[in-house]
Each structure stands twice: as structure tokens, then as C-alpha cells.
Symmetry: C2
Subunit: 227 residues, 2 copies
DNA sequence: CCTCAACTATGAGATTTATCATACTTATAA
DNA sequence: TTATAAGTATGATAAATCTCATAGTTGAGG
């Protein structure tokens, strides 16, 4: 995670992402910009949360570390979206989950400590966060419906497109199986099927997308109803 | 839906449910109390939303009517919980979903029209609603995990206990199948299995719970991790 | 009274997915 | 260096779940 202090770039992100409209005050002077390299953590479970982040560019994924130490993939995020807003609202100092960058990510960031009181009393911000929660909730309901409604192949296709990076898919099978709610064994069956059908090409440590259009077509219905 | 204006009863509900702590102002003079008979609607999709409800007693279920006209069960609610808060936040006049009473329900209610502006500018209320969303979100994540993690029998057991009324289970199979994400046919298989195992007794138009403890034991894990 | 739609019900066979057993590879830590 | 754990991989078999076909029942409306 690296801070970028080119004021031009920061201001540009603030305006194009609508960040300034999330508050009743002008956040410009307090806002930092961070660049997070692919695979690095934006926030790590258990660590103290020092910033309220606002993802403006890139793709990220949210993990939960279960009681038994296992890792479970919860959800994916694309801009614009808040990170750490749940902890802020609950006034919890530590992060509940881990957010990891899939591709390179850029996040605007407000230091929580000095601003928490102000934020929790700011009706504009609270209203925006509420709206954010409502939409997130609609999306969750839709997604939950999808999981029941669509077969694994389609959901996996959608998943691969979502998480692929430069045409390469390289998620951990164990975690993906858990996320999709299927067994490890079955996931490998379906992946093998994708290879056989020419959607993917298997390479040592990852899969290369060979037929992006085909995958997109497969995933189409799922994505369609998630929007 | 019937208004109850016994002030004693209203005040009692307000205090015991913590309703007055949801606002920066004293809601007492604006708060009405409604009794909704089992199976009646608290809010109906598409109808204008005139009250922000707060369920203080009873069980209710949330439906979505899909584009194709089908009905899909989304979730269940127990006190205390807001009803209509999503529409209020989005400033939408019509209800997106339908909420139906499973058992007799009692709801505190604030008229939206005259109070909307005040509510959307009230930091206390907004913060409470945010907290409510955060918890709802945690719950959804857990539930979504459960749906993948637990076999149908356990989820159905949990479902039956949740929706049963006076020891009788009488939900529409079509909707339940959709809610559990299984086929109609399979639901009947599992119900037949429950009858064979002595959990349920089939009666003309419904099932009678014959072994509540057994069902509770079956459902145990599911409920455990939903809390 | 009749008809149509919605709901309930059951069987047979196919498909999807899980479980278990078993190896091989790779990275990490002692 | 050698264990040890995590990740990958594959086969065989069983269980869960779906699809399709088919029918009886019920309630609303003409």
C-alpha cells in the first residue's frame, strides 16, 4: 500500500467518483489516495482500522477467517464502494473481515480517528451510507436468488470473469469451492469440463481464458439479473 | 390491520422495544400501534407506503413478486425490526416488497409523509438505521453461508419451526421450494421423509409437528450459526 | 354446472454433486 | 535436511437433486 500525493490525481478521483458528494463538508483536505498492488491487502481482519476507504479503481474481494482458521470468500467489490464503513458505524476499532486487491486498486481514504465523531453526526454521510447499504442489500438478495437459481457452470463462468486478471484465472480452488457452495472435487470436474469445452487452457499454476466470449455468454444470465 | 389506541399499551411497547431510543426526538405523540392478524399484509408491494413500521411482537415474512408474476420468499423477521426503512431511505413512495404476518403481529408506526424530512436529517435515527443494516448484512452473509453449508433437511427443519403456527405447518410448497432453492419435487421427498421419520404428521391441508424436539435438534446447527 | 388455473402428489430416470480414498507437488518451518 | 501442512489432482461410488410425465383436488369465475 503506497500513498500517492499528486494533488491533481487525488482531486480528479474525488470529483469523478463523487466522493465529495458523500459528505456535508468538503473532504478534500483530509483525503489521501492509496495505491494497492494486486494481491495486497487493503484491510486485514483483526488489524486496527485507521482509514475509511472508498474504492475508486480496481477490483477487490472480501474474506472471512472462520473460527476454525479456514478462509471463506464472502463477496467482490467494484468502484465506487466504501470499505470499512461497517466498522465505522459499529465504532469497532478492529476490522472484522479482510479485503484483498484482485487487480491494482486505488482507494481514497479518510482518517477515522479524527473524523469519526464528525462522520457519525453528519446526516449527509449517514444518508449516503444508508443508501449504500440498501443497494448492497438489494444486490445480496438478488445474488442469493441467483445462487439458488443458476447451475454451477454459469456461476463459475461469471466468477472466473470477475476474478480473472490479464486473462489469467488463479484463485485457490479450496476457497472458490467454498464461495460457490460446492465441493472441491466437483469444482475440479467443472473446471476440467471448461478445459474440455475450450473455455480455459490449463497452465502450470493457473488457467488461461481461451474463449472469453463463450464464458461471457455462459455467465450472461447470472450477470444480467445481478445488475 | 387494526389500530389500537390504548395509550398504556402503546407506551409499554415503545419502552420495552426501545423504540424511543431510535430517534433524537420523542416519538411518542406521533406513534400509532397496529395489530395485524396472522396472514394479513403489513405492507403490500406496489402500494404507497404511509408508515414506517417497527415490529414489536409477532413473526412476519418478506416476499418479492418477480417480473414473471411468480412469488418468491425472501426472508423472515422477528422483533424488533423496522419495516419500510429501505423505501424511506430511498425516498421511494411505493413499497418494493410485500411483508405478511405469519402470526398475529403488533407494529408501532410513524407516519412517513410529515416526518420524512425530519427522519432523514436525524443523525440518531440514521445511525440506528445504519446499525440495523449492518446487523442485517452480517446475518445475510451468515445465512448465505448456511444455505451452501447445510443440507436441505436441516434448513427445512429450521424453516418449519420458524413458520409453524400453533404446531401446524402450512406454507405453500411452491414458495418454500423457491425459498430453499430446491425443486418442488425434492421438497416433497424431504417432507415425506420427515413424515416417515416421525417429525411430522400429514393432515389434509397441512402438516402437524409431531416431534418438535427432533426438529429442533435437526435445525440446531443452522440456527446456531445464524445468531 | 363447467372450466380453468393453482396446488398437491407420485414415479422413473437422468444429472449434479458429495464422499472417500489415494497420490503427487510445493512451500514452510523445525 | 526432513517433516509437515497446504494445495492440486483423479477415480470410484453413493447420495442429493432435477426433469419430465402424469393425475387428482380445490377454488374462483363465467
Amino acid at each position: 500500500m503506497q500513498e500517492i500525493d499528486t494533488q491533481d490525481v487525488i482531486n480528479n478521483f474525488i470529483v469523478t467518483s463523487g466522493f465529495n458528494e458523500q459528505f456535508s463538508f468538503d473532504p478534500r483536505q483530509d483525503t489521501k489516495l492509496f495505491h494497492i498492488a494486486a494481491n495486497d491487502f487493503i484491510v486485514k481482519a483483526g488489524a486496527p482500522l485507521t482509514y475509511l476507504f472508498y474504492l475508486v479503481k480496481g477490483k477487490a474481494k472480501l474474506y472471512d477467517v472462520l473460527a476454525n482458521g479456514k478462509v471463506s470468500l464472502i463477496d467482490f467489490f467494484t468502484p465506487p464502494c466504501f470499505i470499512g464503513e461497517m466498522e465505522l458505524i459499529e465504532q469497532r476499532s478492529a476490522t472484522a473481515f479482510s479485503m484483498q486487491a484482485i487487480t491494482d486498486c486505488w482507494c481514497l481514504a479518510l482518517p477515522i480517528r479524527p473524523l469519526q465523531k464528525k462522520l457519525l453526526a453528519d446526516p449527509v454521510f449517514l444518508r449516503q451510507i444508508c443508501l449504500y447499504f440498501v443497494h448492497k442489500n438489494y444486490r445480496t438478495v438478488k445474488t442469493a436468488g441467483n445462487n439458488a437459481a443458476f447451475p454451477v457452470a454459469q456461476r463459475l463462468a461469471s466468477f472466473i470473469l470477475l476474478t480473472a486478471h490479464d486473462g489469467l484465472y488463479s484463485e485457490k480452488h479450496v476457497q472458490v469451492a467454498e464461495y460457490l457452495g460446492i465441493s472441491y472435487r466437483h469444482l475440479l470436474y467443472v473446471l476440467a469440463q471448461f478445459v474440455k469445452d475450450g473455455y480455459l487452457i490449463k497452465q502450470q499454476h493457473h488457467y488461461k481464458i481461451a474463449n472469453s466470449d463463450g464464458l461471457t455468454r455462459l455467465a450472461h444470465d447470472v450477470n444480467e439479473s445481478t445488475n
